[in-house]
Symmetry: C2
Subunit: 213 residues, 2 copies
């Protein structure tokens, strides 16, 4: 993380009354007493703790899922890939807020965190979302056991295997299709080349005729 962002976070955390757990790989100078840094933290155990008020995350799908499961509001600072989309989801469903790195300041960070911690709507919404996420007809463990035993019961259940596993690498990479398309493309280019040459021949012969005329 660039130094300027690190300073913004440290400044903001200094201004908050809450304590902060920070997963960070590296040395940090000048830590406020309220901040504890570790190169690894048990993310799910912490998210599950009832006193945790907000999870500051880059918005990866698994972090998002774990945060919703444990009903912890989020502050998302997306970096790339699906993270901006996930951050928008958090913002639109009012289970937290999103900040953009380029506009990150101590004030915007303190404002966003204070809002998430004090405005109960974020917690209420994520509690409701967590309930509808946890409410499933079977548990993940039951499903894992059922389908493992299913495969054993039905002789390996070949109907569940991906048909691509049966294909040769020529079929899988669609080399035959690509090959045909390349041939068509080459023929088209050849045709255009011939047409342009014929056209230019006509035009040049006109030109030379005019010159000699």
């Amino acid at each position: 993380m660039p130094l300027k962002y690190r300073q913004v976070f440290l400044e903001a955390f200094r201004k908050l009354p809450q304590r902060v757990l920070w997963k960070y790989e590296g040395e940090l100078q000048d830590l406020p007493d309220s901040v504890r840094v570790n190169s690894w933290l048990p993310q799910q155990d912490i998210l599950a703790h009832p006193n945790v008020k907000v999870f500051i995350s880059h918005g990866g799908l698994l972090s998002l899922q774990e945060s919703i499961f444990h009903a912890t509001p989020l502050l998302v600072l997306p970096i790339f890939s699906d993270q901006p989309r996930n951050a928008m989801f958090v913002e639109n469903s009012d289970i937290g807020r999103m900040l953009v790195w380029d506009e990150l300041t101590v004030d915007s960070l303190v404002d966003a965190l204070t809002d998430i911690i004090n405005n109960t709507k974020y917690k209420d919404n994520v509690v409701r979302m967590s309930a509808s996420l946890r409410d499933q007809p079977t548990t993940p463990q039951e499903r894992a056991v059922f389908w493992t035993e299913y495969v054993i019961r039905h002789r390996g259940a070949p109907q569940l295997r991906c048909p691509a596993a049966q294909q040769s690498w020529v079929e899988f990479l669609m080399l035959d299709v690509v090959g045909l398309l390349l041939v068509v493309l080459l023929l088209l280019l050849l045709l255009i080349h011939r047409l342009l040459r014929a056209l230019s021949a006509v035009l040049f012969s006109d030109y030379s005729k005019k010159k000699t005329a």
Copy 2:
């Protein structure tokens, strides 16, 4: 059903030792004693009967599903839509056979039916497929009850509703997108028109110059 096909079926049924239940809306003359015709038959009850040897069907998806569920081999005569695909599935998974209407004769029909009835592989395969189809972690009834109650528990569960229901008809029919594409297309056509006119002007002026030269 055209008369010629009806005759083929009646002839074939006459040659088989088995009895036939035929769902047919209309009068049939000259019925063999082994054939019973009705304008409606309880398809699932019949398919579930252990003495039923083969189901002759056009290969609609629901008939296919019911036949596999009740472990009855099929003879499929597909007509259109997904039926040829379903018929191919029956043929490829060896749970029955497929015949093409254009090539339907008394002999091909008797051959196919005799093969399905006497060759045990079709029955064996469909019994195995039926078992893996019925083997589910929850019954359809349990699922229907669970998700109905789920919607009640979670205030109508808006997250399960199709987002398209929220869109205006302009958005739903993508009129804005279609409109933009039409404008681009029109501009392109206009451009091509102008270019061709300019080109023809050059060519014609050359031609007239040459004539006067």
